[in-house]
Amino acid sequence: MADYSIQELMIISAAREIADGELVFVGMRLPITAYGVARLTHAPNAVGLFECGIARYAPAEDMLYTMGDPPNQLNAAWLSGLVPVMSQLQRGRVDAGFIGGAEVDRYGNINTSYIGDFTRPDVKLPGSGGAADIAAMSKRLLVIMNHEKKRLVEKVAYVTSPGYLSGGDSRARAGLKGGPSALITDRGILRPYGPDNEMHLASIHEGNTIEEIRENTGWNLKIQPKMIETPPPSPEEMAALHKIDKDGFWR
């Protein structure tokens, strides 16, 4: 067995999606840790944005439960409002944004609102928060989820956060640029491929087979021609992660 946990591999895979100098909408848990790893390795000038109105350079030194916890405010790059910070999405400045979700479909659409008919839902989820905005307006959307058949579905019942909608150019026709760039799961990484913009398996984490992954996906998952095995964490990446995750929460 590898000497890293699957969560650690997910975090490091997510960190690799952030390029230096980029503006990134960072969520809590895995994404904030991924942002920290990226800053400590290949992206020392990345900037983290938070929906409540915070921009930061270095991530907070203490554990965060919410974006607005005081450690995330102390020595921030900017403490402002939701509109001035989130509008950087609509202004076209934001390179990447992380979101999670309850369901994602073959075109990368994400549901965090309703399971079942929205007028009479079977399950009422918390809703968009800023996810719809981040999905619509980031240059690249990065989605992090566990790989379960009930979560990776053929078609989400409700599009909270738009991916490629019904595929092809339907996202562009809706007036949107960008789109999902990576769906990072605990089994691999899916990316849009081809003119249809369908999510294909692009990278497979050590210890998984294509068959297992296809069995755990709710649609007929296609494989990208140049699929790779996810590169294991480098010593530098692991060192950066352990510097942040002092208590071994993700181990």
């Binding site: 919410t66 916890d69 999405l89 609509q90 609102s113 918390p126 719809a132 949107l176």
Partner: protein, 307 residues
Amino acid sequence: MLDKLHSLKDAIAAHVPDGSSVVLGAVLEPDIPFAATHEIIRQGIKGLNVIAPISDASTDMLVGAGSVDEVTGAWVGNVSGGLGHNYRRAFENRETPAIKLNDNSNFSIGMALMAGAYGMPFAPMRSILGSDITKSNPNFQITKNPFSEDEEPVVLVPPLAPDVAILCVQRADSQGNNHHWGNRGVAQEAALAAEKVILLADEIVQSDVIASDPCRVLVPGYLVTAVCHVPAAVHPSPQVGCWKRDNDFFGEYHSRSRTPEGFKAWLDEWVFGVPDHSGYREKLSLRLNDLRITGSAMAAPTNYAAD
């Protein structure tokens, strides 16, 4: 000058009648006026439209207590625990939901309050294009950008002008002038949009303290209806320079609200079981001492001298 200092009980009774639209939780995760949430429940106020992008467990409590007819929000749950159980129960396994949801994204709530604040007839935006939010919430209009030669779609957001915005600040004077620091969420837009503003101040200070730094004013006192001195009004949410987040409290609420009976017992203990917020603080007792921020990280000196 007018003295606007009132007890929280009196301020809520006077300015939050049944059926009000109320902003509660404008700063997102921090600075949530839970003291007001509890007082609203204690007073049995009904029929509210609760407006907030994200209000952590506050909206869930109000829904569970039966105070809410409508939620205008982007996310309702419990940030630590995920789902909000009372909120879920208002929708699931029912012929029709028990409350009306005016679905939004964070940014569309921001745009709606901004439009309300600035007296704009509506706000055009793009960032909920492609989302079914514009389907489940019919208040939005989708149109074409008249300045674009392409067929560029635009979402028009109607303005929100709430009856009351209830906001927490670190310090205020007795006329409602105040200082707020930390992220602001949509608090300033909410204050400027609302018909009335109720402030919950962690500390009441002399007017010259506020006047010494007019850039730190969240909303000027002349737009404030009532100011209440309520230390730790934000508990269990955090407040920069004053209070850490009480993560265990949120966790306990999440566990106990899993069943209607559990929520009722929680409510009986923490809301109906205390006469007011001072009683709540007494009940928190030593726990509150641990949450109090005692460190020092002072802002650099700033000189406003004119000559």
